[in-house]
C-alpha cells in the first residue's frame, strides 16, 4: 500500500492507495499534483531511517510520501 501524509492544521491527513488498483493510483496522483501546484514540497521517506528524498513526480510505488508547505526564511 502507498501512503501520502499531508501536513496541516489538524495534524497530517493520510491518503492511501493500492499500486495495483488503477483508480486509487489515479486519485492519489491527482491529489499529489494538486498539492504540488499549490506549492507544497513532496518527500519520499521510509521507516528504515533512510534520508528523505525529494519527489517532483508522483510514483505509485514510492511507499510513503510526505507533503509539506514550503518552508520560508524567518
Amino acid at each position: 500500500m502507498g501512503e501520502m501524509a499531508v501536513l496541516g492544521k489538524e495534524g497530517d491527513t493520510k491518503f492511501m492507495w493500492d499500486p495495483k488498483v488503477d483508480f486509487e493510483v489515479d486519485d492519489a496522483r491527482a491529489r499529489f499534483d494538486k498539492y504540488i501546484k499549490e506549492g507544497y514540497l513532496a518527500f519520499h521517506v521510509d521507516k528504515e531511517g533512510n534520508k528523505a528524498k525529494p519527489m517532483k513526480k508522483f510514483d505509485p510505488k514510492a511507499g510513503k510520501i510526505i507533503l509539506t508547505p514550503a518552508p520560508t526564511g524567518g
Binding site: 514550503a70 518552508p71 526564511g73
Partner: protein
C-alpha cells in the same frame, strides 16, 4: 439644557447628515417634523425608543425651526436588567472558555498525530529524546543540524554553531512537530535549498550547554 435652531445647525455634521446634506432644514422636512412636533408621532419610533431607553432621557419642547432639548441624568438600570446583563455576560464567558478548551484539545490531538508521524520516520528511541528535550539531530549532505521545537535550527560546526531562521509559513497554526518534520525532510532531501531559504543569524561559540544538547540528540540518532 440646549437650544438648537435648524438654521444654524446646518453646519453641524450630524444635522447635515440627517437633512441629507441639502442644507435645507426647514420645519417641513419629515425628520425635522418628527423631532420638533412633540413626541406623539415619535414615541413608537425605533430611534426615539433607543434614545429614550439606552441613553439619557431627552425631552423636547418648542416647534417649528427651534427646538429645546433637555437631557436628564442617565437612566439607572433596574435590578432585573442588571440580573439579565450578568447572566448574559456569564453565558458569553462560558462560551469563550468552552471554545478555548476545544481548541486546546484539537491542538493536542494534532500534535499527537504529528509525533506519531515523526516516530514513523525516526523510531521510538529518538522520539523519546525529542519529546524530552525538544531537539532533533539531523544529518545533511554537508552539515549536521539540531532542529529545535519552538526554536530555530542550529547548524553545527566544529567550534561554533550558527542559527538559521527557517520555518513553515503558517507555523503557529500547525502542530509544532509538523514544523520539525518538514525541516528534517528538507535538510535531508535538499540541504542547499534549506540553507538558501533560511536567514542566517549570528555565529556562537560552542559551550557546555550547547554541547550537551547536541550530544544527547546525536546519540539517539
Amino acid at each position: 439644557m440646549a437650544t438648537y435652531n435648524s438654521y444654524y445647525s446646518t453646519t453641524d455634521t450630524t444635522w447635515a447628515n440627517w437633512c441629507g446634506d441639502s442644507g435645507t432644514t426647514t420645519a417641513t422636512d419629515t425628520t425635522w417634523n418628527h423631532w420638533c412636533d412633540g413626541t406623539a408621532d415619535t414615541t413608537n419610533s425605533y430611534i426615539w425608543i433607543n434614545w429614550c431607553t439606552e441613553g439619557p432621557v431627552v425631552q423636547s419642547s418648542g416647534s417649528g425651526n427651534t427646538i429645546t432639548l433637555t437631557a436628564s441624568s442617565p437612566r439607572i438600570p433596574t435590578e432585573e436588567e442588571r440580573r439579565q446583563t450578568r447572566m448574559r455576560e456569564r453565558a458569553e464567558r462560558r462560551l469563550r472558555m468552552n471554545r478555548s478548551r476545544m481548541l486546546t484539545r484539537q491542538r493536542i490531538v494534532a500534535e499527537n498525530k504529528a509525533l506519531q508521524l515523526l516516530e514513523d520516520l525516526i523510531g521510538p528511541e529518538q522520539r523519546k529524546v525529542y519529546e524530552e528535550t525538544g531537539r532533533l539531530f539531523v544529518k545533511g549532505q554537508k552539515y549536521d543540524w539540531l532542529l529545535r521545537a519552538g526554536g530555530i535550527p542550529m547548524r553545527i560546526e566544529r567550534d561554533r554553531v550558527m542559527d538559521l531562521c527557517i520555518h513553515l509559513p503558517n507555523r503557529h497554526s500547525l502542530p509544532e512537530t509538523d514544523n520539525i518534520i518538514a525541516l528534517k525532510c528538507l535538510v535531508e532531501a535538499d540541504e542547499e535549498l534549506f540553507r538558501r531559504t533560511g536567514n542566517a543569524r549570528s555565529f556562537r561559540n560552542r559551550n557546555e550547554k550547547i554541547d550537551l544538547q547536541i550530544n544527547r540528540a546525536a546519540k539517539a540518532a
